[in-house]
């Protein structure tokens, strides 16, 4: 087939119904069926199979980290401890943070959806370095194994932030092996970022200029930039605390005249940009979903794409806003505050453009679209509460309280996980060749949305009331909000379990999807589902901009079919 954009226009005309009703064709010779056996998976260099390896791996970490979260939420129902000791509680929030950040959120969209979709979106047969891609998975597994080893041998109680001198001198837990796990996993991130950058630069199909790239590719490119430039700083920082802990002396040690706050600078120089690793890919997914399900080109393509790059660059300059009360100078605080306000602007641009895209669209409320709309709602709240934290005087009060917890969960979970789920539903037909059950999907999306808000909105109030984070016991007047939050978390749990169940079911029993069930325009839809081993029978040629949807035609056809 000759998968050009103009062809997809013509295939769109003949379609009268979105999805479901018409059974498509299941490509028999596909990337899943060409090879068999465990070896064919463990030695694969196919970016699609590696994406699935990552999906499977990060799900395991997500489950462990979720169990940790559930135990904490149950414990926090009562002000006094009932379930676990303080040591255990501290280990629970550490394992939750470490696994969720480094072993779920950071790899989530890039390594699963990015690995699977990026080469297909740009019309390539694979990423630039397939062997390194597989190596990155092995490194990731090795890092994860180290993290799990520390967990099984008693865990770590430093919090995911490893603040010195607690982590270097005072903690009695397995800090070095956990730091080593994160250190190792960091190299997997670096390799992935490097691979994506080179792939985007050098592997694009003929005619696919930079400003014809789908916005998901732009966002992955911006993400890769951060991965490559920020992760090494984390690596050296973790190496330094490990050596310091092992050796007994080091550069963060106040006894030598070292500055423990220097650790915080280095840590946040990585970890603030890393926050954008955890949201930019989600934004890219949302741009794909909003256009496809409102049948319209994105509003302000260049602005949305540039906003990704602006976030990536500005994101490197705001780390100090984690340290307004850490004894950093007042003037440094002011510089970081103003830059933090400015980094909100490109995020705002994206939200405004997504909203404007809906206008005069033909909006389909399929499951991915529900996740996308949920994303916009939660991300907006998360982003606006970020302004509270950027405002110096207010941050002094809410810093290190549940307000911060609520804020970043709105971005990380309300944003990134919603986008991940939306993207997984959207590309599931491409990945598996089959459709998930639509009704269950919609239900799960709505349950997730409600459960999420009930879990995390009360935490804003708790935070302003003064409840500090990482508290095992708390004053009784905070209890009501903790109870609400735990109730919400149980609903949220249902929202996450449902897709897990129906995706497994749909893998074998779902309705056959056909190459392009959503009648979407991206190159990844111009090839059979599941795709053949090298993605395309022939290298596609691109002749126009992305998202050549037409809402008007969509409606005409629908009306005619009634």
């Amino acid at each position: 087939m000759n998968g050009t954009i103009s062809d997809s226009e013509s295939s769109m005309k003949s379609a009268t119904e979105l999805v479901v009703e018409r059974p498509g064709e299941f490509a028999r010779l596909n990337y899943l069926s060409v090879h068999h056996g465990v070896r064919s998976w463990l030695l694969t260099k196919d970016h699609k199979r590696i994406g699935l390896l990552y999906l499977f791996t990060i799900l395991i970490f997500f489950l462990i980290a979720s169990v940790a979260a559930a135990l904490m939420r149950i414990e926090l129902v009562t002000p006094q401890p009932k379930l676990v000791t303080s040591e255990t509680y501290n280990k629970l929030f550490t394992i939750h943070g470490v696994l969720m950040v480094w072993f779920f959120l950071i790899p989530s969209i890039p390594t699963v959806l990015g690995n699977f979709i990026l080469p297909m979106m740009i019309g390539a047969r694979d990423v630039a370095f397939p062997k390194l891609n597989l190596l990155s998975w092995y490194i990731f597994v090795a890092g994860g194994a180290l993290a799990l080893w520390s967990l099984l041998h008693g865990g770590v109680d430093t919090g995911w932030t490893f603040y010195t001198p607690y982590s270097t001198t005072y903690a009695n837990t397995h800090v070095i092996s956990m730091a080593a796990g994160v250190f190792v996993a960091g190299f997997s991130t670096i390799i992935t970022g490097m691979n994506f950058m080179v792939t985007t630069h050098k592997m694009r199909a003929p005619g696919l200029t930079w400003f014809r790239l789908p916005l998901f590719v732009w966002s992955l490119y911006a993400t890769s930039l951060i991965m490559v430039l920020a992760t090494p700083v984390l690596a050296i920082t973790l190496a330094l605390i490990s050596v310091e802990r092992f050796w007994g002396v080091g550069i963060f040690d106040p006894k030598l005249g070292g500055d423990p706050v220097l650790f915080q600078h280095l840590f946040w120089f990585y970890s603030h940009p890393a926050v954008y690793i955890m949201i930019l890919p989600g934004m890219g997914v949302i741009s794909e979903l909003i256009t496809c399900f409102s049948r319209k080109p994105i509003y302000g393509y260049a602005w949305v794409g540039s906003a990704s790059m602006a976030i990536a660059v500005l994101g490197f300059l705001v780390w100090g806003h984690h340290m307004f009360v850490s004894s950093q100078s007042v003037y440094a605080g002011m510089v970081f505050s103003i830059l933090s306000f400015l980094v909100a602007v490109p995020s705002g641009i994206k939200v405004f453009n997504w909203t404007a895209t809906l206008r005069k669209g033909s909006i389909h409320f399929a499951t991915p679209m529900l996740y996308a709309l949920g994303f916009i709602g939660l991300f907006t709240i998360g982003g606006l509460t970020g302004l509270f934290l950027a405002a110096l005087a207010v941050d002094v009060h809410v810093h290190d309280t549940y307000f911060v917890i609520a804020h970043f969960h709105y971005i990380m979970v309300g944003g990134m996980v919603m986008a991940f789920m939306g993207g997984l539903h959207y590309w599931w037909p491409k990945i598996s060749g089959r459709l998930y059950p639509e009704l269950a999907g919609k239900l799960a999306a709505m349950i997730t949305f409600i459960g999420f808000n009930l879990t995390f909105f009360p935490q804003f109030i708790l935070g302003y009331l003064g409840q500090p984070r990482r508290y095992h016991v708390y004053p009784p007047e905070f209890q009501i909000y903790h109870v609400l939050s735990t109730a919400g978390a149980s609903i949220l749990g249902v929202g996450y379990l449902m897709p897990l169940i129906y995706f497994i079911w749909a893998w074998k029993h779902g309705r056959v999807a056909g190459p392009n069930p959503w009648r979407a325009t991206g190159l990844e839809w111009q090839t059979p589902s599941p795709p053949p081993e090298h993605n395309f029978e022939q290298t596609p040629v691109v002749r126009g901009p992305p998202y050549s949807y037409s809402a008007e035609k969509d409606v005409d056809l629908d009306v005619a079919s009634i």
Binding site: Y163, I338, V345, V351, K360, T380, E552
Partner: protein, 314 residues
Amino acid sequence: MDRFRLFPPQASTTSHEVDALFFALTLISLFFMVVIFLPIIFFSVKYRRGSPADRSNPRSGSFLIESGWTIGPIFLSLGLFAWGAVAYFRMERRPANAIDVQVVGRQWMWKLQHAEGKREINELHVPVNTTVAMTMTSQDVIHSFFVPAFRVKQDVVPGKYTGEWFKPTRTGEYHIFCAQYCGTQHSRMIGRVVVMEPAAYERWLKSGEPTESIVQTGERVFHDRGCSGCHAPNSQFHAPLLQGLYRNPVPLVNGTMVTADDQYLRDSILQPGKQITAGYQNIMPSFAGHLSEEEIMQLIAYLKYIGNQPPASQ
């Protein structure tokens, strides 16, 4: 108990300032939520699939609109920044005429000492409508002194002094929390501030065992630890005199100047070679490990006391 409380008590001057900005930010957030969510709901209904709405001439961008929603928020955020920064600046600048309290954090308790010498653990008694300024350090890991009712928080960092001040406006008891994770019993590193009427505070200060003031203790340390052997005016060793030193500029060997503040005095006791006064040799031994954090603070209180005296007085 007020179980559905939405806001913490406002019990200091700072709390009003912070809350004003907080409410402004809340209003702005609500405004943006309306501006974003209403159109989304409206478009979702009007342009749902199959609706008869007019979809002709859709736009895919407009430079004017894009610039508008780029530049508008930039100016708005600059305004919010300025508001927050001005209030922050006030919060970070220690006002004059404050009651001094020394705070040492450790796993997992707060040790506090008033200028009059009275010591407390996990409790802080202060008079209402009086500015209280704390000098804080930690003897182990990083802690953070947080009083939600006053809207103040400051990390307490080993190896350096940080400051925090507040002016309570309402009597009552308020939480002290440690806000920076500090180990196993982090959530039990809590206490209370008791804000009292001035008369009651005076009574409280005088209650219990009579104590020497922090300056007196400092003077004792100064002599007991041998500091006076070199730094006394009649000493045979060539050491800088400490009278008239505090808050004044000190010329250093490398040609720069430094202000003799608490941090400078602390560093000079623990790391004498870090900043050597011009005209002197670095012959002083380090007292790191020989003095507790409390003793260093008492010593500095004494140095402040004599530092405010004219140099020629002795």
